[in-house]
């Protein structure tokens, strides 16, 4: 194995260690706490990106899907695939379902904000 090859291998190895080890070093740094999911108990908050909540994400995905369904039903009606009667009934159902999702989003946001603000207060 030539010198150049050896140097390249060492450089590659150093790069890999730097890239892969960076998150571990950051966590063990002096200014970093240990807000890991394990230590945060069952909430697994450590998994979440700032401002993220899996339940809320699911609800927002459901809201987007419902909006799309409402738009699709309207397009189906306007292109003659649904009768006015069927469209009225489907659209009403979809809007009711959308409102339910919006209510649940509001509740989830309320739930998410309360402990979050408490934590902010504690940190502050």
């Amino acid at each position: 194995m030539g010198l150049l090859t050896a140097v390249l291998i060492v450089l590659l190895l150093a790069g890999v260690v730097a890239l892969v080890g960076a998150p571990l070093r950051r966590r063990h740094g002096p200014d970093q706490g240990t807000p890991t999911a394990g230590e945060a108990g069952e909430s697994r908050d450590g998994w979440l990106a700032p401002g993220s909540d899996p339940a809320l994400d699911d609800l927002e995905a459901a809201r987007e899907a419902k909006y799309r369904e409402i738009r699709d039903a309207e397009l189906d009606y306007r292109t003659g695939k649904l009768s006015a009667e069927d469209y009225g009934s489907i659209d009403a159902d979809l809007r009711t379902e959308a409102l339910e999702i919006l209510d649940r989003i509001d509740r989830a946001r309320g739930d998410a904000e309360t402990p979050g603000s408490e934590r902010d207060d504690e940190q502050g």
Partner: protein
């Protein structure tokens, strides 16, 4: 540099193993930093394998015959264009390509999802790394692309002449991109099951990757068909070959998934079905790779050896077993949230489409693996041919095309019979009009073609009606002019209308298949210069022979030592249609036992077809010159006896002159096929439709821009 390449493989394996451990530990313990480190291991892996691939590519381009792989699959006479592609013609190089592409796609998928579904992504990371570790392990222990020779040969064996075709530069990377992209949804599907997060979020995260896998696989399959048509000298584009089938099966299940995922997104239904389709598609992709690389089934496309069979069988067994376990153990979480409202709904049409696609896949699976199944039960290997496949796939293909016209005109949730009657009126009339025209022309005796033309007309009419009604509705809602309303309609509903374009492309493609297979005229015969042959309404006249020497004069630029061919004049009645110049290339074998002259042309001869293609028909020709003719073999024998390697080319010059002066009869294959070009055009339309559907919707782009703007505005406030 072989040392650097092999060190990269060792390092890659170490990174995979570390990444798997870190991701699983991170996911199970909730230690985010380990999951993050595991994700970065995938990025590092992509960088390492990029270096490894570059080392091998450079070795091929520099003719570094110290590398065993380069000496086996390349040579100085192989044109540079094909030397670059020769990397993936070898067993070892293709395994490296597979691992490299998977590491790149995995990096992209994990980068895109870095702020979402972290627990699912952590499990997915470990699964993706597991696949790469498998392929890297194969290279380290079974097929090392960086293995070196103790004695470096002056010249390599050369690239298989069959692979010296322009689309071979992109066909394998396309197919392998498709296969490796199929692994992304599989990994996230398994990750969602392991993390017990089986809502629509993971489907949303991998939707574009599933679409990209489908697109790449489709393009790869089509390029393979084009290669078969243009290079293999038999004039067909699909022969139900095991490897062709292996690439088609994940495409079929992927198509089913792309339809059924919409039902899960909208209605929360078919969760078990969708996750099963994703797992099946990934497993079929691995099985496709297994077929190409294990050499377990006979195929013109199989380039592997038998050594990799056992590891692949173990991997496939583990995949199937773990998939079944995960789906069964999580069945309670995969319950549907709604029921089907009506059998007359788009959901029902999609379910029917899924059943047909999976049925097609099952038929092809059974036919492809029948040799193995029969051997397991009877001890004798038996295989089924194209007629068996045609018997079952033709009716299913007809139903599939018909459904692609029915789906667009039915509403989601429920449609009424009155609306259905009104929406189906124009498509049914179009199909009946087509039938009347075919009857008037007198071609209804071909049942499959007639049925396919009618079904395709039904699809064209239903999709065009959808575009027209949608545009009209858009104009009524916004008051803009029709062209703008059309553009806005498509722009605001990319998935829907991109999908409709795909349906048109599929119908066009099947029209090409039906016409070219039902109304083809072909002839195989021996001709001397001046003689003619009638094929359908076309006359082929063998005008004169041709002979070209050395790679730089090779008409097809494939590096053949000698090419013998013919000039053909094609006429229809008294009208000149085309001048065709098919030839056959003879390549160096590198085998000294064939003699100095014999070894220059002793490799596998490859047909260079010549065709005159058009929108209505292709006129196709191939020639097999009689190189074994006594007067030509006398020259070869005399050259072998008297000339050294440096002068051997002189004998080929004499042979070429003799061929031009006293040509022996040559064997010709002529085909006149209608609408073959529709197959390639249909493929292009499918790609265009897929690109429309896959492109991010304007609202998504706006949301991302808005989010970025907010983030930008937010940062200084946070700092302040």
């Amino acid at each position: 540099m072989p040392g650097l390449g092999f060190a990269c493989l060792l390092l890659a394996l170490a990174v995979c193993l570390y990444g798997i451990g870190a991701s699983v530990y991170g996911a199970r313990s909730g230690r985010v930093e380990f999951a993050e480190s595991g994700r970065r291991a995938v990025y590092a892996l992509a960088a390492i394998l990029t270096v490894a691939f570059a080392v091998l590519e450079i070795a091929f381009l520099r003719n570094d015959f110290a590398f065993n792989t380069v000496a086996d699959t390349s040579s100085r006479t192989t044109p540079t264009f094909y030397r670059a592609a020769a990397v993936w013609s070898s067993q070892e190089g293709s395994l490296l390509l597979w691992a490299w592409l998977l590491s790149l796609w995995s990096s992209l998928a994990l980068f895109v999802t870095r702020r979402r579904m972290r627990e699912v992504a952590a499990y997915a990371t470990s699964i993706l790394l597991g696949f790469v570790a498998f392929f890297v392990g194969l290279m380290i222990f079974y097929a090392n692309p960086f293995a070196t020779l103790s004695r470096v040969p002056a010249e390599g064996v050369g690239l298989d002449p069959l692979l010296r075709f322009p689309t071979m530069m992109i066909h394998p990377p396309m197919l392998y991109s498709g296969y490796t992209l199929c692994i992304i949804p599989l990994a996230f599907g398994m990750g969602a099951l392991l993390a017990r997060r089986v809502d629509a979020d993971w489907i949303k995260a991998i939707r574009r990757f599933a679409f990209a896998a489908w697109l790449f696989l489709g393009v790869g399959v089509l390029l393979g068909a084009r290669w078969s048509y243009s290079e293999l000298g038999w004039g067909g584009y699909w022969g139900w070959d095991a490897v062709e089938n292996a690439s088609l099966m994940p495409w079929l299940t992927g198509t089913a998934f792309l339809h059924s995922l919409m039902i899960q997104e909208k209605r929360g239904m078919l969760k078990v079905w969708n996750v099963s389709l994703v797992l099946a598609t990934g497993t079929l992709a691995i099985m496709g790779t297994f077929l190409v690389r294990s050499g377990i089934l006979n195929s013109i496309h199989a380039f592997g050896g038998a050594t990799l069979g056992v590891p692949f069988v173990i991997l496939i067994g583990v995949l199937i077993g773990s998939s079944i376990y995960l789906v069964v153990s999580r069945r309670d979480m995969l319950r549907s949230q709604h029921r089907l409202d009506s059998l007359l709904s788009r959901e029902a049409a999609f379910i029917a489409n899924n059943l047909v696609l999976v049925g097609l896949c099952f038929v092809i699976f059974w036919g492809t693996y029948f040799p193995l199944i029969s051997e397991a039960f009877t001890g004798q290997e038996a295989s089924v041919g194209p007629p068996w496949f045609d018997r079952y796939t033709v009716p299913l293909a007809l139903v599939l095309v018909l459904l692609s016209g029915i789906g667009p005109v039915i509403a989601w949730r429920r449609a009424t019979l009155a609306n259905a009657r009104r929406n189906f009126l124009v498509p049914v009339l179009a199909a009946l009009a087509t039938l009347a025209v075919l009857a008037a022309v007198g071609v209804t005796h071909k049942g499959f073609a007639t049925a396919m033309f009618c079904c395709a007309s039904f699809v064209f009419a239903s999709v065009l009606q959808e575009f027209w009604r949608g545009t009209r509705a858009r104009r009524a809602m916004t008051g803009v002019a029709l062209p703008r309303a059309f553009v806005e309609l498509v722009r605001r509903n990319r998935r829907r209308y991109g999908g409709y374009v795909v349906h048109i492309g599929i119908a066009v493609l099947f029209v090409g298949v039906a016409a070219s297979s039902s109304f083809q005229h072909a002839s195989e015969l021996s001709l001397r210069p001046g003689q003619t042959s009638k094929v359908g309404s076309y006359t082929f006249r063998y005008v004169r022979p041709t002979a070209t020497l050395t790679p730089q004069y090779d008409r097809a630029h494939t590096g053949s030592t000698l090419a013998l061919g013919a000039v053909l004049d094609v006429t229809k009645g008294s009208r000149h249609v085309a001048t065709l110049e098919p030839s056959e290339g003879f390549y160096s074998s590198g085998d000294p036992s064939q003699g100095t002259v014999g070894s220059l042309i002793g490799g596998q001869p490859v047909s260079h077809i010549s065709l005159n293609g058009g929108i209505t028909r292709d006129v196709w020709s191939a020639v097999a010159p009689e190189i074994e003719a006594p007067q030509l073999q006398r020259i070869v024998r005399a050259g072998n006896a008297t000339l050294g390697p440096e002068e051997a080319i002189i004998a080929l010059g004499v042979l070429a002159r003799e061929y031009l002066k006293r040509p022996p009869p040559a064997q010709f294959h002529f085909i006149v096929s209608p609408l073959v070009m529709w197959i390639w055009l249909g493929g292009l339309i499918v790609v265009a439709g897929a690109l429309i559907a896959i492109w991010p919707a304007p609202s998504t782009v706006r949301r991302r821009v808005a989010a970025r703007s907010l983030a930008r505005a937010g940062r200084p406030l946070v700092r302040a």
